[in-house]
C-alpha cells in the first residue's frame, strides 16, 4: 500500500511509539519567536534544563512586535535575544534583519522537503509548501523540542484536496484557499493534514503554495502539505547546490517524500477553479466566505497588505500593479508591511515601494504588526479593515474591530475605491 507525504516523513523520523497512535519524531528544526518562546525558556531555566538540543537546528526571530512598543514586549525580545546568545544560536534575527517568521525562514533556505518542524505558532503549517511536516505546538512541546529535538504526534490522517482547472485572471492562491475553507468549514480538517495536489498546485510557485498551506490551520488542519517537485528544487537551489550535483539529483532525493499514487486518504476532495471568483470573508470566522461581488461597496477604514499569508514579493507586485498611478481613497488608511528585509529591498529596487507611497500607503518595517492587533495599525472599536492576513476572529486586529480577509489584488483595489471592490475594476 502506498503512503501519503506525512506518512513517509513520520516513517523516516520516528524514534519511538510509546502507545498506539502516539509517535515521537526527531525534529529537523525548531523555530522560535518572541511571543511564545520566552515562557518556554523561563520554564526550562526554572527546571534547571536551560539547554538546547542543537543550536544549528534552532532558528529564532523577533517578529511579532518589532521595534518593541512597551516594556513588556521589550522584555519578551530581551529574553529571546539573551537566550539565543547564551546558546550560540547563530540564526537569530533581530531588528534590521528580522521579518515575519513564516516568510523569513523559508527565504533563508531553512525548510527542506521531508523535514519535521515545530514552532509555537499556529501558522507553522505554512512550511508544508516545501513537502515538510510543520506543525504549530504548545509550550510544553516547544520546551521538549528545544531541549531534546523530538516532538510527539498522533497518527497522521490526511485529507487530499485535488485542485484542477484554469485559474481565471484576477484570481489568486488566496481566493482558492478562502473558497476551500468556506466549503469544508473551520473544523473541516481538525487534527488532520491537508495534502494540496492537482494541476493547479503543480503550476503554482512556492509563494502561492505557502499561501495555500498557511491557511490550512483555519480549517483546523495540523499541517498543509504539497508534493516536492522541480519548483521546490529551483526555489531551494541556491541553498542546496553544494549538496547535489544537479537539480535532477536533488529532485530525485526530494521525490522520496512525494505521495504515492495509491496512498490511502481519509477523504479526497475535488476542487475546480475554472469558475472561481475573487473571495472575501465576512463575519468573525474564516469560513464565512463570499465572492467579492456580493460584498461590493462594503465600507472600510483601513487596508492592510502584509503578513505570512500575503506579504511576499509577488503579493506586493500584484498590489502595486493595481495601485500604479492611482491614489487610495481619502476615507481609507493604507498600510503595507513587506514580510522580510529582502522583500522590502527588492520592492524598493523594483519601484514598488514608491508606487505604494505615491498612492498614499504607509510602508512599515517587516513585522507581524497589525495582523494580530498588537502594533502598527491596531483598529479602533467599530472600525473595519480589508486585510491580506489569515484570521478574522473577533478583535483580532483590535478590540471591537472587524477584519475582511482577501487577496492583495482585492485589497489594493478596495483601497482605491474606499470600499470592498473587485480588482477587475482597476485593470491595466
Amino acid at each position: 500500500m502506498g503512503k501519503t507525504i506525512a506518512e513517509k516523513i513520520f516513517d523516516s523520523h520516528r524514534v519511538d511509539s510509546p502507545s498506539e497512535d502516539i509517535h515521537v519524531l526527531n525534529l529537523d528544526a525548531a523555530f522560535c519567536h518572541e511571543i511564545t518562546t520566552p515562557i518556554a525558556i523561563n520554564n526550562l531555566v526554572s527546571k534547571g534544563k536551560d539547554r538546547v538540543f542543537d543550536p544549528l537546528k534552532i532558528k529564532a526571530v523577533i517578529d511579532h512586535v518589532t521595534p518593541a512598543k512597551d516594556s513588556n514586549t521589550a522584555m519578551q525580545g530581551k529574553i529571546l535575544r539573551d537566550w539565543a546568545r547564551r546558546h550560540d544560536i547563530k540564526d537569530f534575527f533581530d531588528i534590521g534583519r528580522n521579518g515575519v517568521c513564516h516568510a523569513i525562514f523559508p527565504e533563508k533556505g531553512f525548510v527542506r522537503p521531508g523535514f519535521t518542524i515545530i514552532m509555537g505558532d499556529s501558522h507553522t503549517c505554512t512550511h508544508g509548501a516545501f513537502g515538510a511536516f510543520a506543525a504549530g505546538i504548545g509550550t510544553t512541546d516547544l520546551e521538549v523540542g528545544i531541549l531534546k529535538g523530538v516532538c510527539v504526534f498522533h497518527t497522521p490522517v490526511t485529507i487530499k484536496i485535488n485542485i484542477a482547472g484554469r485559474m481565471p485572471e484576477g484570481v489568486y492562491a488566496k481566493d482558492v484557499i478562502l473558497s476551500i475553507i468556506g466549503r469544508i468549514g473551520v473544523n473541516g480538517a481538525t487534527n488532520k493534514i491537508i495534502e494540496f495536489a492537482g494541476p493547479v498546485v503543480d503550476k503554482m510557485d512556492m509563494e502561492e503554495r505557502m499561501t495555500l498551506c498557511n491557511m490550512a490551520v483555519e480549517a483546523g488542519a495540523t499541517c498543509g502539505i504539497c508534493n516536492p517537485d522541480m519548483t521546490t528544487v529551483k526555489y531551494l537551489w541556491e541553498f542546496i547546490k553544494d549538496e547535489y550535483s544537479t537539480k535532477k539529483a536533488a529532485l530525485e532525493a526530494f521525490e522520496k517524500y512525494a505521495a504515492d499514487s495509491d496512498a490511502l486518504y481519509d477523504d479526497v476532495i475535488e476542487c475546480d477553479v475554472n469558475n472561481l471568483e475573487p473571495q472575501v470573508t465576512f463575519g468573525y470566522k474564516p469560513d464565512n466566505v463570499k465572492p467579492v461581488k456580493e460584498m461590493e461597496g462594503t465600507p472600510i477604514d483601513q487596508v492592510y497588505i502584509g503578513s505570512c499569508t500575503n506579504g511576499r514579493i509577488n503579493d506586493l507586485r500584484v498590489a502595486a500593479k493595481i495601485l500604479k498611478g492611482r491614489k487610495i481613497s481619502n476615507l481609507v488608511r493604507g498600510i503595507v508591511s513587506p514580510a522580510t528585509p529582502k522583500i522590502y529591498s527588492q520592492a524598493m529596487e523594483e519601484g514598488i515601494i514608491k508606487i505604494f507611497m505615491d498612492a498614499g500607503f504607509c510602508v512599515t518595517n517587516p513585522t507581524c504588526g497589525a495582523c494580530l492587533g498588537m502594533s502598527n495599525g491596531v483598529l479602533a472599536d467599530g472600525e473595519v479593515c480589508a486585510s491580506t492576513t489569515n484570521r478574522n476572529f473577533n478583535g483580532r486586529m483590535g478590540k471591537g474591530g472587524m477584519v475582511y480577509l482577501m487577496s492583495p489584488a482585492t485589497a489594493a483595489a478596495s483601497a482605491i475605491a474606499g470600499h470592498i471592490t473587485n480588482s477587475e475594476l482597476y485593470k491595466g
Partner: protein, 174 residues
C-alpha cells in the same frame, strides 16, 4: 510525581472553557506563578467566589467538556500553581486533556452516571479525594461517607504522570 490527593472544589457545570479557567488578558505574563491569583476569575457560577474558594483545594470535580476553547497551556498552569493537579470530569476538550498530562497532571474521565452520583452524594460538602495511582483508584470521603471509584488512563499518560510531565519523560528517554 505530583500530588493527586486533597480537598475537592466542585464546579457543577458543563463546557467550562479555557477563558473561564484563565482569561486571555493574562496571557502576556511570562511566568506561570504570575497566573496564580486569576484562576477561574471569569467563571460565573452560583456560590463560587473564585479567589477564596480555590484556596486549599487540590482537585476539581466537574461535568462534561471541561477545558474547551483555546489551546492555551496557561489553563493547566493556572491550576498547577494553585496546587490543583487533578481534574475529574465526564469528558475533556482534547488539547486541554493532553496539556494536563504533558504537565504531569491528570485529567481523568468517569462515566456521566458516576459523576452525577458523586455530585449527589458529595456535592456541596467538604470532600476529600485520595488517589491510589498504582491501583488506579480514587477514595472519596466526606463526613460519615466513603467510596472507592476505579478509573483508567492510557499507558502513555500514566508514564507521563510518573515522569512528572512530557518534558521530564522526554529528557530521561530520548
Amino acid at each position: 510525581m505530583k500530588n493527586f490527593s486533597g480537598k475537592v472544589l466542585f464546579l457543577d457545570r458543563s463546557d467550562i472553557n479555557t477563558d473561564e479557567i484563565i482569561p486571555a488578558r493574562y496571557l502576556t505574563e511570562i511566568s506561570k506563578e504570575a497566573l496564580k491569583p486569576y484562576l477561574l476569575e471569569d467563571l460565573n457560577l452560583e456560590e463560587l467566589i473564585p479567589g477564596q474558594d480555590v484556596d486549599g483545594k487540590s482537585i476539581i470535580i466537574t461535568r462534561a467538556n471541561f477545558g474547551c476553547g483555546s489551546s492555551r497551556e496557561h489553563a493547566p498552569w493556572a491550576l498547577e500553581v494553585n496546587g490543583i493537579n487533578l481534574v475529574i470530569a465526564e469528558s475533556f476538550a482534547r488539547i486541554f486533556r493532553q496539556n494536563m498530562f504533558n504537565c504531569g497532571m491528570m485529567a481523568v474521565e468517569l462515566p456521566p452516571e458516576t459523576i452525577e452520583h458523586i455530585f449527589t452524594v458529595f456535592g456541596g460538602r467538604e470532600t476529600f479525594v485520595e488517589t491510589d495511582f498504582k491501583e488506579s483508584k480514587f477514595t472519596i470521603k466526606t463526613q460519615g461517607k466513603k467510596e472507592d471509584i476505579f478509573y483508567s488512563i492510557s499507558d502513555f499518560d500514566r508514564a507521563l504522570v510518573k515522569a512528572g510531565g512530557w518534558l521530564e519523560y522526554a529528557d530521561s528517554k530520548y
